[in-house]
Symmetry: C2
Amino acid sequence: MLGLHLILIVIFIVHGCSGGNILVVPVDGSHWINMEVILRELQSRGHQLTVLRSPNSWYIPEISSFYTTITVTSPEDQGEGFDPSLFSLLMQRSFEQNKMTPFWHFIEQLKDRAHTIHIFHSATLHFLSTILNDSIFLTRLKSTRFDLLLTDPAFPTGVILAQYLKLPMIYSVRWINAGEAHGELAPSPPSYIPAYNSLFSDNMNFLQRTFNLLLYLVSILIEEVFIMPVYSELLHRHFPPGADLRSMQHSADIWLMRVDFVFEFPRPTMPNMVYIGGFQCREAKPLPTELEAFMQSSGEHGVVVMSLGTLVSALPKEMTEVIAEAFSRLPQKVVWRYLGHRPSNLANNTLLLEWLPQNDLLGHPKTRVFVAHGGTNGLYEAIYHGVPVLGLPLLFDQFDNLIRLKGRGAARVVDASSVNVEDFVEALRDMLENPSYRDNIQRLSRLHHDKPLSPLDTAVFWIEYVIRNKGAAHLRSAGSSLPWYIYHSIDVVIFLLALGVAFLWVLIYACRLCHWSYRTKSKVE
Amino acid sequence: MLGLHLILIVIFIVHGCSGGNILVVPVDGSHWINMEVILRELQSRGHQLTVLRSPNSWYIPEISSFYTTITVTSPEDQGEGFDPSLFSLLMQRSFEQNKMTPFWHFIEQLKDRAHTIHIFHSATLHFLSTILNDSIFLTRLKSTRFDLLLTDPAFPTGVILAQYLKLPMIYSVRWINAGEAHGELAPSPPSYIPAYNSLFSDNMNFLQRTFNLLLYLVSILIEEVFIMPVYSELLHRHFPPGADLRSMQHSADIWLMRVDFVFEFPRPTMPNMVYIGGFQCREAKPLPTELEAFMQSSGEHGVVVMSLGTLVSALPKEMTEVIAEAFSRLPQKVVWRYLGHRPSNLANNTLLLEWLPQNDLLGHPKTRVFVAHGGTNGLYEAIYHGVPVLGLPLLFDQFDNLIRLKGRGAARVVDASSVNVEDFVEALRDMLENPSYRDNIQRLSRLHHDKPLSPLDTAVFWIEYVIRNKGAAHLRSAGSSLPWYIYHSIDVVIFLLALGVAFLWVLIYACRLCHWSYRTKSKVE
């Protein structure tokens, strides 16, 4: 990393206002959409925000009205950038894998997972190295006296930087390492907590529990083989001996969990995990005039809203034609967020938009069903507004997410890779005509809203709590710093077993001795 | 239970107001002091409260301005009643046990524990049988249409009744079965969560962890041998086959935990556990004129407040004289809640009171140190008002409670059974002169107050939540209804091990077969 060149675009506002001075290390993509909501709220309450970004950032703007940015650049970055077409490729591969036998499906998925992990963690390592190799930049960062580092630990830039700068740290988190964030800190009995991508619910039969346990072991393997070693050389160079990523990850003061238990299966949690699932949702605002007119034109039939999120830019042609054909058979109107070539068979009832005000559409009284890929942002919006979901999961956690909503009776799931017109129309009609989906998601919606403090206010409360109290060490369990074999009492159990065996051995030996001396005595007599 | 006679003093107000109709099944003694605070608050918010009590109740008044009572009587109860001198006896025995070797100490403690469990659970069984054998009473109870049963599950009257009446259930809880309530529902790794009465902290060495694991096993044994069997015949008679107490205990909608993590070691928890530790505390009210004059007369030295709670009525004479002598050597004034004979050596600086306004005294600016037995009510008041504690633990959880406060640097502990004047004076002077105790408890106090919602408001919110939503089943984990061997994946692990062994066996057998055929072939050649 010699010849490193660092451009600091706008930097280092020393803490001087009544609010806190917060260093933000976000994750790009849909994770940024989440983080931005919290940042806007923090800024409106008088906090100073400094966001660390890469010059090739996909979503994070360099210039913003509510935060300042530090763009970390090294010469090697020139012209480079993350290629979002990766996601379309992964989706294609996922469709192909669906046709394989379960074993090969599993192996191919594992390979894809290792590949994505490699791409993202290599980029993270590069970004981190650029920062940690620039001593002038680090000195200035230290002298800025931030009160707090706020990060999404899906990738550990923020985690390692907070440790380096010795700052209190807060997570906005759903995923960390190779699984859902709970699993990293809270006990997760594999008997009822389904592993990542298992597609199981919290009610498993014997065989499912067996596979689930194996999937847990695979997750641990992935972490140990593919993730932890990526950073070991960097940690060795910049931290005292013995520093390891896992204990750094465990050291966050507060974990703002992007989870709500109207959605997630109830499970063990920890005192410093705070639940803010759905914090990004808000009351619907009025729609643009044209769109409102389209919504009203649906009459009593109402509207189907479809969006497959931000990751995958375009679907395969066959799939879009199936969907377009299915929509054409409905009496409802359809608003479809659509990128790519217009399907040839599109009917008049369907409006294609390159971007749509998703939250406002879901909160519109005419909206009947939300056709979604199952990303959490969209699903929480559906819960917030009480709109049932027809899921077309494409990638990552989307399959698992939809299993949860389906389990609550508020969603149906269609296999995107093999969808045909009849099945899709049947699913749509079922969701439009059977009131149970709507009843169920509206019940979830009522429960989701029934809170002493809104999720966003909760997030802000705990961020300000950590600033006020300079951390929240008293909420971190002593277990989080124990090695795994001590945490699970493996050493104690082995010791007790050994003691038991030794005791038995002595007992048997003593018995034999008695027996032998008795026999000897008998013979002598 | 023939000839059962049941007196219903004031009963059955059918739900008709805007608030809820709540059936309360409290536990007597200091547990009632807790429960009463919640009931007052609920009544002030328009809820109807019906409290189930025994005619020999120790603390629960039959006539109250804020709840109605049902007094459950059977002829066998005439003149009977709980004898609180049991606690003084237990304390005496505990003092004697302190002089024994650790092994006999442990055995004697176990015997005492079994004895108290027997006394209390027999009384509970008698009370429950009286209720469940009276079908007319039960029919009327059912027809009252309660919205909720609120209970302290330290003894399972409320638990079993809620199940019988099919009512949503909320706990106000700290202890259940043979341990702290968390252990009943949330995973509790014995590597860092000290067992009941272990006197360990959350940072244990190898030997302590070994004992701690054994103490956990003892707890399980106590539950299975001394508690669960008490109720099996009753459950068999009044419930469908297969009904068991543990799954009934797990079925509560919300566990209002009388715990706060400024006091308790951080540990795994569950989504339906809500923390209300310190809910009984409130701002100090002005003291009676005479007491205020006494407080002011202390000048700059301030006042030591001493109270050993409600369980033990009188201390041994030698002990009170040691304490009186120690107090006489202080420049401070002392207010001492005292029952029994006045110590002969009492000095002028010490005021004895049969009852004292503890919360108001702890909130008084002249109060410097609180000498306490370590019951949670008193400790939370000390935290609330930021007064350091000199602990003289006598019974039950008091030893463990004080270990927690001592670990936070906010308390010192003196062994009540062997206390002498010099040691007690030294401890008092240290606490009065060394500012760290006060600094530490005031830091805890600030953290304790720093909450989005007060503990009492939190309790009321969740009680009303369960009334509004007719339960909170969506917050109960699927794990709580699994048998232990499934919960811990024991069956899956055995299956996988068997599979591994079988695989190895086949492999070895195949190798041998190859080897044999190779040798045979060689020989033939």
